[in-house]
């Protein structure tokens, strides 16, 4: 059937503009995928779970190298020496923040261990002059997001019958990746809302807006 249509004069630039937008979007998205090695996994696909009873988020993110006042090495302490995350980041089990350990915790060992190392000397100097190190926050979410470490540890670690506290690093790795590989902290998961929501969907977490955006 052929109905005579009112052929409106199309704007000649529309097609080019749309093409440009699409190409631009592809470039931006592509750059982020390539640059940051972002691999969003769709719901339901999970590799071998390291946390029994939970779907482990497999996203990754290539974080910046953020310098810190003391060039601490997680690889040495958490990796080689096998110190549990919760030994230093104690507050994670009873507060919304995991917390950077007080210098007193470091000095517990480092009054005698490695006292000749330059970073330890730096730390000792700060300790003796009552100076708090000014750490740069690496894993950060916006101020309008209310995240509680305590709740998440409660669910995946303490209330999880198959989990033992010595395997706490596996739970921390859900959002912080494998910290045994890095020196100072590096962001290894996107920590975007999509990242949170997917894990909540997979692990029966709350989906009510006001739980996190109160």
């Amino acid at each position: 059937m052929s109905i005579e249509r009112n052929k409106r004069k199309p704007f000649p630039w529309v097609k080019t503009a749309v093409a440009a937008v699409v190409v631009g979007a592809l470039i931006v998205l592509g750059a982020q995928v390539f640059e940051r090695q972002l691999h969003p996994e769709s719901a339901g696909i999970a590799p071998a779970a390291r946390v029994p009873g939970a779907e482990f988020p497999t996203d990754t993110f290539k974080g910046k190298d953020v310098p810190q006042p003391i060039n601490y090495s997680h690889k040495l302490h958490a990796g080689d020496l096998g110190i549990n995350c919760l030994y230093c980041h104690t507050y994670a089990r009873r507060s919304k923040v995991a917390g950077i350990p007080p210098t007193a915790k470091c000095m517990g060992c480092h009054t005698v261990v490695g006292t000749d190392k330059p970073e330890i000397e730096k730390l000792t100097q700060m300790w003796q002059s009552n100076q708090s190190p000014a750490w740069n926050k690496v894993n950060d979410v916006p101020d309008f997001v209310h995240f509680s470490h305590e709740r998440h540890l409660q669910k995946f670690l303490f209330d999880n019958p198959e989990m033992d506290i010595k395997n706490a690093p596996d739970v921390c790795a859900m959002c912080h990746g494998d910290m045994n590989q890095v020196g100072v902290a590096k962001k290894m998961k996107p920590l975007t809302m999509g990242f949170c929501i997917r894990c909540h969907e997979n692990n029966q977490g709350p989906s009510d807006c006001t739980r996190c955006h109160k």
């Binding site: 199309p10 699409v22 979007a25 998205l29 972002l38 507060s95 350990p101 210098t103 000014a134 926050k137």
Partner: protein, 712 residues
């Protein structure tokens, strides 16, 4: 015709693709802007106490100093900062509640206009220089001016005065209960009897704003709830302009300013003649009651016979009742006589009790002291004055010539957290710690358990390096003046800890910690001697002026103006008019019409003391012969948020020569008004008193209700 074709299919395809791109970009792609890495700082602790957990607040007990009531508080502290204040549930004065002024203490503490260093003649100086100058100049004829004060701060202050020539301590409070306490002392030998609002079946208030600013509002608020519980008490209020208490009254009676005593006498008259009560123990009162007929009350106060009868009938039929008054000394005395006649003594009015350690007892303050300071300063009797917790340059009526009086004092030292009109004229200004950074003990004047002492402790480290606490400054001054026994103490904390340990009879750390946790401790108290019915002259005199009178009232919030530098309290709407951030003059619509004025018209209010210009607010809750301008605004030098409104305190009658038997700020000042030709809308929250047909509050007349619901 162009070759390009946008047909529907292509358009939808592009839309879908673009939309998907946008969605992908929104929820999941890390936004370089929102998710920061390495932007914020975390300052870790060095060696925190066990109970200090980042992210978890710890509560500490302290005391609120936003008004003289001294309610106990709990402050939530997180990561070394106090973030929220609540009432201390264990202090009887406020039973866990905290009024808006208490909440705003947080803002007073973090106020950006805090004084951060000592000043000499307006120039920054060191503490050493400032203290050296004080040692040089403040050696004799020294006076202290403070607000209401109690506890160990008072002890040190008295000691300093004793060591510098036995000068006088002027305790100045614009808002006070001196009318009531003087009457209590005269009639009952008890300046502060205990009132049992919760036990009363009827309450008559003659200008005593129990729920707003009178004595200890939070205490009365708590009792008021019980007063209104079944069987529901009846509240009556007589005042020239509606207060918060008046707004809650079942029967509100507008009386001409300054005539509340006459109304009370009229009530007494009816109680005697109509209800057969008698007061034989007080013949003076009896004859005063007898001669005040309802017709005279109508004449003097503009209160109708019907209204007067209703009050008397209520008081006679509901027992026990309670009559409170603060409008004038005479009204308070009549109220005491009425309480005796009604048999309330022993039921709703019982002997008060005070702490035995008299040097710690509270001095409540008055404007009588303000007037006497002006008089003595003018007469050259004061060589040096220390001023803290008072702003005489702002609150003094013109008639007291406070500016000249202050000038006549050779050396003036202000201890303050923020600059105000008074610090501006002082030679030395010492930066004070805020109430949330300081130590202290405080004995509540009313509402606490007898003998209770409230503890004030710092809720965080001082915000500013060079501020010092009041107690610390008093200790330093005391040592320089040679007061005995202070050398052992390095700071006020040490002094206080020793003093408190002596009072609780233990030096154990655990017991001190328990006191800090509770925020209070009990010291021995004794009941007041109490005698009913000293037959004093009631002191009533008629106000002959038939014209318009200015009244200024205190509204909880800005109080006497001390909180005008709090944006929270400026923003909090006035309880009666719901106005914010500016002044107004409440005027009855009939009066406005008589003067050809409409709501919002600016008028000049002129009294013997001066003139102020502000807009009128037509309101039926004010006597037609009264113009009410609430106090609190009109600052000229009080920080970034206080430059608004007008100050009625300057133009009220100073009642010079009369302040022995009345407060300087007594209620009736003759005033003339004239329009200045401007009109501006007063900004109010919920800017209407009408429902505009929206049926927000459905009403039905009692008659109709009786008919339709079969009510008795």
């Amino acid at each position: 015709m162009s070759k390009t074709k946008i047909n529907r299919r292509n358009f939808l395809k592009v839309l879908g693709l673009g939309g998907a791109g946008a969605a992908l970009a929104g929820c999941d792609m890390p936004s370089y802007v929102t998710l920061e890495e390495g932007e914020e700082k975390i300052y870790s602790y060095l060696a925190p106490e066990e109970y200090v957990i980042p992210g978890v607040g710890v509560w500490y007990a302290s005391t609120c100093l936003q008004c003289p009531a001294a309610c106990g508080t709990h402050g939530r502290v997180r990561e070394g900062r106090v973030l929220k204040l609540e009432g201390n549930p264990n202090t009887a004065v406020n039973a866990g509640k905290l009024c808006q002024m208490g909440q705003a203490a947080l803002q007073a503490h973090f106020n950006p206009d805090r004084i951060t260093e000592p000043l000499i003649n307006g120039q920054p100086a060191s503490w050493d220089d400032a203290l050296a100058l004080i040692n040089e100049k403040a050696t004799k004829n020294v006076a202290w001016m403070t607000g209401a004060i109690s506890g160990h701060q008072r002890v040190l202050l008295d000691a300093h005065l004793a060591a510098t020539g036995k000068g006088r301590h002027y305790a100045v409070e614009t808002i006070n209960a001196r009318a009531w306490t003087d009457a209590g002392k005269a009639v009952l030998s008890d300046a502060m009897p205990t009132l049992h609002l919760d036990k009363a079946e009827a309450v008559l208030s003659l200008g005593a704003d129990m729920l707003g600013t009178w004595i200890s509002p939070v205490t009365f608020m708590g009792q008021y709830g019980q007063f209104r519980a079944a069987p529901r008490g009846v509240l009556m209020a007589v005042e020239p302009a509606m207060s918060l208490t008046g707004a809650n009254a079942d029967q509100w009676v507008a009386a001409k300013p300054g005539t509340e005593a006459a109304v009370a006498l009229g009530v007494g008259h009816l109680l005697m003649t109509k209800h057969g009560l008698s007061l034989n123990s007080m013949p003076n009162a009896t004859s005063a009651f007898q001669s005040m007929t309802p017709a005279r009350v109508q004449d003097i106060a503009g209160v109708s016979e019907a209204a007067l009868n209703k009050i008397a009938d209520t008081l006679a039929s509901r027992k026990p009742s309670l009559v409170v008054a603060n409008a004038s000394h005479a009204a308070a005395r009549v109220a005491m006589a009425l309480n005796i006649m009604l048999g309330n003594v022993g039921k709703t009015l019982t002997p008060g009790a005070s702490i035995v350690a008299d040097p710690l007892a509270p001095i409540m303050g008055s404007t009588k002291d303000l007037a006497e300071f002006a008089q003595n300063a003018d007469a050259g009797k004061i060589d040096a004055v220390f001023i803290t917790g008072a702003n005489p340059a702002f609150i003094a009526p013109q008639g007291l010539n406070m500016a000249a009086a202050l000038k006549a004092v050779g050396f003036k030292v202000a201890l303050a957290t923020c600059h105000d009109e008074t610090t501006k004229v002082c030679d030395v200004v010492l930066p004070l710690s805020s109430a949330l950074e300081d130590w202290g003990t405080h004995v509540p004047a009313y509402g606490g358990k007898p003998g209770v002492v409230h503890l004030q402790q710092p809720l965080m480290e001082p915000l500013h390096a060079e501020t010092r606490g009041l107690g610390d400054i008093l200790l330093t001054l005391g040592k320089s003046a040679g007061v005995d026994g202070l050398e052992a103490f390095e700071d006020y904390y040490g002094y206080l800890r020793t003093a408190v340990s002596a009072m609780i009879g233990s030096e154990q750390e655990g017991d001190w910690q328990r006191v800090l946790q509770a925020g209070q401790f009990e010291a021995p108290a004794q009941d007041h001697a109490f005698s009913t019915g000293s037959d004093v002259a009631l002191g009533f005199s008629e106000n002959a002026d038939a014209g318009l009178h200015l009244v200024t009232v205190a509204r909880q919030g800005l109080y006497d103006g001390r909180h005008a530098n709090s944006s929270w309290l400026q923003e909090a709407p006035d309880q009666i008019t719901k106005a914010v951030w500016d002044s107004w003059a409440e005027m009855h619509p009939k009066t406005a019409a008589d003067f050809g004025l409409k709501d919002g018209d600016y008028v000049s209010l002129t009294t013997q003391g001066g003139a102020i210009t502000t807009r009128i607010f037509t309101y039926k809750g004010v006597h037609p012969k009264a113009v009410c301008v609430p106090m609190g605004r009109g600052h000229t030098d009080y920080g970034r948020w206080a430059s608004n409104g007008v100050n009625p305190l300057t133009i009220v009658d100073a009642h010079l020569g009369d302040w022995q038997s009345s407060e300087v700020l007594a209620t009736a000042t003759p005033v003339k008004i004239s329009a200045v030709g401007e009109n501006r809308h007063l900004v109010r929250l919920m800017d209407t008193d009408q429902q505009h047909g929206r049926k927000l509050v459905a009403t039905i007349s009692a008659q109709q209700f009786g008919r339709t619901q079969g009510g008795a």
